[in-house]
C-alpha cells in the first residue's frame, strides 16, 4: 500500500491506517479501511464557530514577505511578459502593459513598503485589481495562491509599520500574511499621477 505524500495535518493514514504488522491487508480489512476513510473524508472540516466569516484572498510574494489581496478586488492575474517603463512618473509607477488592447498601469508596491528589488523573473505576475474607474496592475514577485483567512484572526498591523503607507495594510493574518487594504489603496488620491510641466 502506497502512502500519500501529503503534509497537511490529518493525512489519510491517520484516518484509516493500515494495521501495524501486516504487509498485505485482506479484502475484508481493505473494505474496513476504505469505509473508515470515506467516513473521515465525508466529515465536515472543523470550524471554530459557525458565525465566523472568511476572507478569500490571493497571497503573493513581494521580496521575502507574503502579502495578500481580497479576491473581490481582483479581475485577473496576468503574466508579466513585456513592460514599457514610463519616464517622468513617480518611482512606484513600474510601467505600462498591454492586456488585450487595453493599456494598464503597473504599480510596484515594494516602493511603498521599502522592500528590496528582486529583479524581474519569469515568476513575476501582474494582479489586475479594480474599483470603480480605478484599474491597475500590482506587480507580484511570485503568486502563492488562494487562501481563506478567518476575519477575526486578523491582527492589526505591527506598530513598527509606520509611515504614510501603513494605511494600505488592513491587518496581519496568522501565518504572517499581510493583507492589503485594497479599497483604501485604490481610493487614495495620492496614488493618482497628475503633473504639469514646471509645477
Amino acid at each position: 500500500m502506497k502512502k500519500t505524500g501529503r503534509k497537511s495535518p490529518g493525512t489519510l493514514e491517520d484516518r484509516g491506517a493500515v494495521p501495524a504488522g501486516t504487509l498485505e491487508a485482506t479484502p475484508e480489512e481493505k473494505r474496513t479501511i476504505l469505509r473508515a476513510r470515506a467516513k473521515s473524508l465525508a466529515h465536515e472540516p472543523e470550524r471554530k464557530g459557525e458565525a465566523e466569516k472568511y476572507l478569500e484572498v490571493l497571497a503573493f510574494l513581494l521580496a521575502h514577505e507574503t502579502y495578500a489581496i481580497e479576491t473581490v478586488f481582483i479581475r485577473e492575474v496576468y503574466p508579466l511578459t513585456e513592460l514599457t517603463p514610463l519616464p517622468c512618473t513617480p518611482d512606484y509607477i513600474f510601467g505600462i502593459i498591454n492586456i488585450r488592447g487595453q493599456i494598464l498601469t503597473i504599480i510596484d508596491m515594494k516602493k511603498f513598503f521599502d522592500l528590496p528589488e528582486k529583479g524581474i523573473t519569469n515568476l513575476n505576475r501582474v494582479i489586475v485589481v479594480q474599483e470603480k474607474d480605478m484599474e491597475l496592475g500590482i506587480l507580484a514577485d511570485e503568486i502563492i495562491g488562494i487562501r481563506n483567512i478567518p476575519e477575526n484572526a486578523l491582527n492589526p498591523p505591527l506598530p513598527t509599520m509606520t509611515g504614510i503607507h501603513a494605511g494600505y495594510i488592513k491587518g496581519v493574518a496568522g501565518e504572517g500574511i499581510i493583507l492589503l487594504d485594497m479599497e483604501r489603496f485604490l481610493k487614495d488620491r495620492q496614488l493618482i499621477v497628475n503633473e504639469e510641466v514646471g509645477a
Partner: protein, 776 residues
C-alpha cells in the same frame, strides 16, 4: 430671417416625426399587449405606459402646433386615465376605437405639414367615441378628473354611430408624402455610447492593418536571408562543379570508386538537392509575400472604408454647437454694457462630433475675447460713426481637401498693434531689437503667445492673455490652423481651418536612451541630420543654425529625465518640434519610421503625466509612449533656464520669499486668503481694513497687496487710490478680490488703478496665485 425660421421649423417637424413615430409604436404595442389575458398588475403597468406615451405625444404635438393630434391624444389620455383608476373596463369594442385613433395619429404624422388639418369630421368623430369611452359605456361613473377635461366642443351622440369602415388615411398620396414616409422609416435613434463603442472598435481594426504591415516586413527579412544564401551558393557552386568534373575524370580512369568517393558523391548530391529545396522555398516565400501584400492592401482598404463610414455616422452639424451662442453672447454683452448681434451661416455643415466638442471651448474663448476687447460700447461706436449695435459673424464654409473654414469676425475696434508690441516687450517675449524688426503680421501672431494681453486689467473673463493661447493649442491639436486679421477701428477676423474628421493619427517612431517613443507627425516641423561639429554653443546652450535662424537644441532623453551613455556618433539626428511659436530641436538616437498609430489614452491612476500624452500599441504588440510636444517644449525651456542659472532661487532661501499684504475685514476670508497664499510660498501679513493697510505699507516693504473691496473705514477702491497716489507705493501691484461682480465695479477698479480684479464667486486659488505670479 423668415427663411431661417422656416428652416428651423422644418427641422423641428422632422424631429417631431421621429419622436411621434416612436410614441405611436409604443402605444400600439401596449394596446396589442393589453388585448391578451394577463395578471391585473401587469396590465396596470402597461396601461400606465400607454398613458404616459399618449401624454408625451400630446406635448410634442402641441410644440409643433398639430392641434388635431393634440386633441386625439387628449382623448386617449382620458380613456387611459379612466382605465388606470379602473373606472372603465377594457371592452373589445373599446380596443377598436383605440386602435383606430392611433391609426389616425399615425396618418397625421406621415402627412406633410401643409395638409395639417386632416378631415375634421373624422377627428371629431373619433374624439367623441373616445370621450364616451372615457366616461364608461354606461355613463354612470364620473370618470373624468378635473385636470383632464374631455373636450366639450364635441357633443355626445348616440352610441350606435360608428366610424366609416377602415382607417382611411386623410392623406393625399403625393410624392413628398411617400418620400417623408420612407425617410421616417430609415431613421433610427442610437445612443451616443453605442456609437462611440462602435467607433472605438473600428479604430481597433487599425491594429490589423499594422499587424499585416509587420508580417510583410518579416517576410521581406526572410527574403533577404534567401538573397544572402544565393550569394553564398553562387560562390560555392563553381567548387562543386570542379569536384564533380574531377570525379568524373577519375571514374573514367580507374573505373571503380573507393568508399570515400561514394560518400563524397553523396555529399555533392545532397548539396545540390538542398539547393533545389532552397529554391522551392524561396519561390514559395515569394508567392506568400505576394499574397500577404494583397491581403494587407485589402485589409487596409476595408478598415479604412469601415472607419470612414463610422466617422461619417459620428458627424454633427455645426448648428448643434452654435445653438447656445445667441444666449451666451447676450448674457456676456449685457454684463459689459454692450450691444451685439450674432449672425451665423453654414451651420448645416457637418463635422466630427469630437472636433465639435473641442471647438466649444475655442468658440467660448473667442466670443468672450470679442465681447471684452473687440466690440466697443455703444457710445464709443456712435462717436466713431458705427451703428451702436456691434456685429459678430460666424461663417462656416467647406474648403479644399475635406476641410472646413470658419471665420469669426466682428466690426469692433480691432487689435491695438502698438499696445500688443508693448505688452510683449513688457512680458519679455520679444527683445527690443526684435520688436523693431517685427512686421505687422509678426506682431499679430503675438496675440497667441501665452501671457500677452492688451487689456489694462485682469478680470475673470479675460486679460490674463491665456485665452488665445488655449485656442491655438486646441486647434493645432485637432490638426487645424488659426490666424488673425485685424483692421484698427474696423474689426478683427479670426480664421480657422479644421479637418472635417479626426484624422487617423500618424506618428514618428524614434528612440531615445534606447527606448522607443512616438512623436505626433503633425508636431514635427522637420527632421535634420547634421554633423556633430555643426552644433554651436550660444550662451552656454547648444544650438543649430538652420536657414538663417538659430534653434536651441536639447536631448530628448534629458528632457524625459532618462540617463544615457555619452553619445559620440559623428552624425546627430534632430527633430524640430514646434509648439506655441517656439521651435526646439530634439536630438534622438534614431528615427525608425513614420506610421499610422492608434492612440490609447491612459486611465487612472495616470491622470496626467508630464511630457507623455498617451500610449500606442505597435503591430508587434509593444506598448510605446506617445509624447506630448507642448509639454516637451515647455520642459525643454524650463530645464534650460534651470541649467543656465544653477539653483539661484533656492540660494536666497527664506529671504527671497515675497511678502503679500492681505487686507480683509472678514476673519474667515482673511484666514482663507492667508492660508492659500502661504501654501504657495508667500509670506503673508494681514490688515483689517484700508487704514490699517496704509499704516502697515508705510512701515514695511511688501511685494503686492491683495485686498477686499467692501470694508469699513476705508474700502478697497480708496485704498488702491491712496497707494497709487503715494510716490513710494505707486508701482505696488494691487489685486482686488471681491464679491461685487458688476461691470461698474470692475471699471471703478480700473479707474483707481488696480492691477487685477477677481470676483470671489469664481474665486479659486489657482486664479489668484496665477495672477500674483504674473504681477510680481
Amino acid at each position: 430671417m423668415a427663411g431661417k425660421n422656416d428652416a428651423f421649423i422644418k427641422r423641428l417637424l422632422s424631429t417631431f416625426k421621429v419622436e411621434a413615430d416612436e410614441h405611436i409604436k409604443n402605444i400600439t404595442a401596449g394596446l396589442i399587449e393589453l388585448e391578451k389575458e394577463m395578471e391585473p398588475q401587469v396590465k396596470a403597468g402597461i396601461i400606465e405606459t400607454v398613458f404616459r406615451e399618449a401624454h408625451s405625444l400630446k406635448g410634442a404635438a402641441r410644440a409643433v402646433n398639430r392641434s388635431d393630434m393634440e386633441t386625439i391624444c387628449q382623448s386617449l389620455e382620458s380613456v387611459f386615465s379612466g382605465l388606470k383608476r379602473r373606472e372603465i373596463d377594457l371592452a373589445p369594442s373599446l380596443f377598436d376605437t383605440l386602435h383606430r385613433s392611433v391609426d389616425m395619429l399615425n396618418a397625421i404624422t406621415l402627412s406633410p405639414p401643409e395638409a395639417a388639418v386632416a378631415d375634421p369630421g373624422q377627428i371629431s368623430r373619433i374624439t367623441e367615441k373616445l370621450a364616451k369611452a372615457a366616461l364608461g359605456e354606461t355613463g354612470e361613473k364620473q370618470a373624468i378628473p378635473n385636470d383632464q377635461p374631455v373636450p366639450r366642443d364635441y357633443p355626445l351622440t348616440s352610441e350606435t354611430e360608428t366610424l366609416p369602415p377602415g382607417p382611411e388615411p386623410p392623406v393625399r398620396e403625393t410624392d413628398e408624402t411617400a418620400r417623408t414616409q420612407k425617410k421616417a422609416m430609415s431613421t433610427v435613434r442610437i445612443s451616443m455610447e453605442k456609437l462611440d463603442s462602435l467607433l472605438r472598435q473600428s479604430e481597433e481594426m487599425l491594429t490589423l492593418k499594422l499587424m499585416a504591415d509587420r508580417h510583410l516586413e518579416d517576410q521581406l527579412d526572410l527574403a533577404h536571408l534567401f538573397g544572402l544564401w544565393d550569394k553564398q551558393w553562387a560562390k560555392i557552386y563553381p567548387i562543386i562543379c570542379e569536384f564533380r568534373r574531377l570525379q568524373e575524370k577519375s571514374d573514367k580512369q580507374s573505373g571503380k570508386r573507393t568508399q570515400d568517393d561514394i560518400r563524397f558523391a553523396r555529399l555533392l548530391e545532397f548539396g545540390e538537392l538542398t539547393h533545389d529545396n532552397m529554391k522551392i522555398l524561396e519561390s514559395r516565400l515569394a508567392e506568400l509575400r505576394k499574397r500577404s501584400d494583397h491581403d494587407r492592401y485589402a485589409t487596409g482598404l476595408m478598415v479604412d472604408n469601415l472607419l470612414g463610414d463610422v466617422k461619417q455616422i459620428l458627424m454633427l452639424p455645426f448648428s448643434t454647437l452654435f445653438e447656445s451662442f445667441p444666449k451666451l453672447l447676450r448674457d456676456l454683452s449685457r454684463d459689459q454694457g454692450k450691444d451685439v448681434e450674432l449672425s451665423i451661416s453654414g451651420g448645416e455643415i457637418e463635422i466630427d462630433r469630437r472636433i465639435l466638442e473641442e471647438m466649444r471651448t475655442v468658440f467660448i474663448h473667442l466670443l468672450r475675447n470679442t465681447i471684452d476687447h473687440g466690440i466697443e460700447k455703444p457710445e464709443v461706436r456712435k462717436k466713431n460713426g458705427k451703428p451702436p449695435r456691434g456685429m459678430i459673424q460666424i461663417i462656416v464654409s467647406r474648403s479644399e481637401g475635406n476641410r472646413v473654414e470658419i471665420l469669426l469676425s466682428d466690426d469692433g475696434g480691432g487689435i491695438d498693434l502698438g499696445g500688443l508690441k508693448e505688452a510683449s516687450l513688457e512680458r519679455g517675449i520679444v527683445s527690443p531689437e526684435e520688436a523693431r524688426k517685427l512686421t505687422e503680421q509678426d506682431v499679430l501672431s503675438l496675440v497667441f503667445q501665452s501671457g500677452v494681453s492688451t487689456s489694462p486689467i485682469i478680470t475673470d473673463i479675460s486679460g490674463r492673455g491665456l485665452g488665445l493661447t488655449i485656442v491655438r493649442e486646441k486647434i493645432e491639436k485637432l490638426g487645424g490652423r488659426v490666424s488673425v486679421e485685424t483692421d484698427r477701428h474696423k474689426g478683427t477676423t479670426i480664421r480657422m481651418n479644421l479637418p472635417l474628421t479626426v484624422s487617423t493619427f500618424r506618428g514618428v517612431l524614434v528612440t531615445a536612451a534606447e527606448r522607443p517613443f512616438i512623436i505626433p507627425t503633425t508636431d514635427v516641423e522637420r527632421t535634420v541630420r547634421i554633423k556633430r561639429e555643426e552644433i554651436r554653443t550660444v550662451e552656454n546652450r547648444e544650438t543649430l543654425s538652420l536657414e538663417g535662424s538659430t534653434i536651441p537644441l536639447v536631448k530628448l532623453s534629458a528632457v524625459l529625465e532618462l540617463s544615457e551613455r555619452k553619445d559620440e556618433s559623428p552624425v546627430v539626428t534632430i527633430l524640430i518640434l514646434e509648439s506655441q511659436g517656439k521651435r526646439i530641436g530634439f536630438c534622438v538616437d534614431e528615427i525608425r519610421t513614420e506610421q499610422e498609430i492608434l492612440i490609447k489614452g491612459m486611465s487612472r491612476p495616470l491622470s496626467r503625466v508630464r511630457n507623455i500624452a498617451a500610449a500606442t500599441i505597435l503591430g508587434s504588440g509593444k506598448v510605446v509612449p506617445v509624447l506630448n510636444v507642448s509639454d516637451l517644449v515647455k520642459s525643454a525651456t524650463t530645464s534650460a533656464i534651470r541649467a543656465a542659472k544653477p539653483a539661484a532661487p533656492q540660494a536666497g532661501g527664506e529671504a527671497a520669499k515675497q511678502t503679500i499684504l492681505v487686507v480683509e475685514d472678514s476673519i474667515t476670508s482673511r484666514m482663507l486668503l492667508k492660508n492659500i497664499l502661504e501654501t504657495s510660498g508667500y509670506l503673508v501679513k494681514t490688515a483689517v481694513d484700508g487704514i490699517d493697510a496704509i499704516s502697515q505699507l508705510k512701515t514695511e516693504k511688501f511685494n503686492a497687496v491683495v485686498s477686499d473691496v467692501d470694508m469699513p473705514r476705508m474700502n478697497g477702491f480708496n485704498l488702491t487710490e491712496k497707494i497709487r497716489g503715494d510716490k513710494k507705493l505707486a508701482e505696488l501691484p494691487v489685486v482686488l478680490v471681491t464679491a461685487l461682480g458688476s461691470r461698474e465695479d470692475r471699471e471703478r477698479g480700473i479707474d483707481v488703478g488696480a492691477n487685477a480684479y477677481i470676483v470671489k464667486s469664481s474665486f479659486d486659488q489657482s486664479n489668484l496665485i496665477e495672477t500674483l505670479r504674473r504681477l510680481i
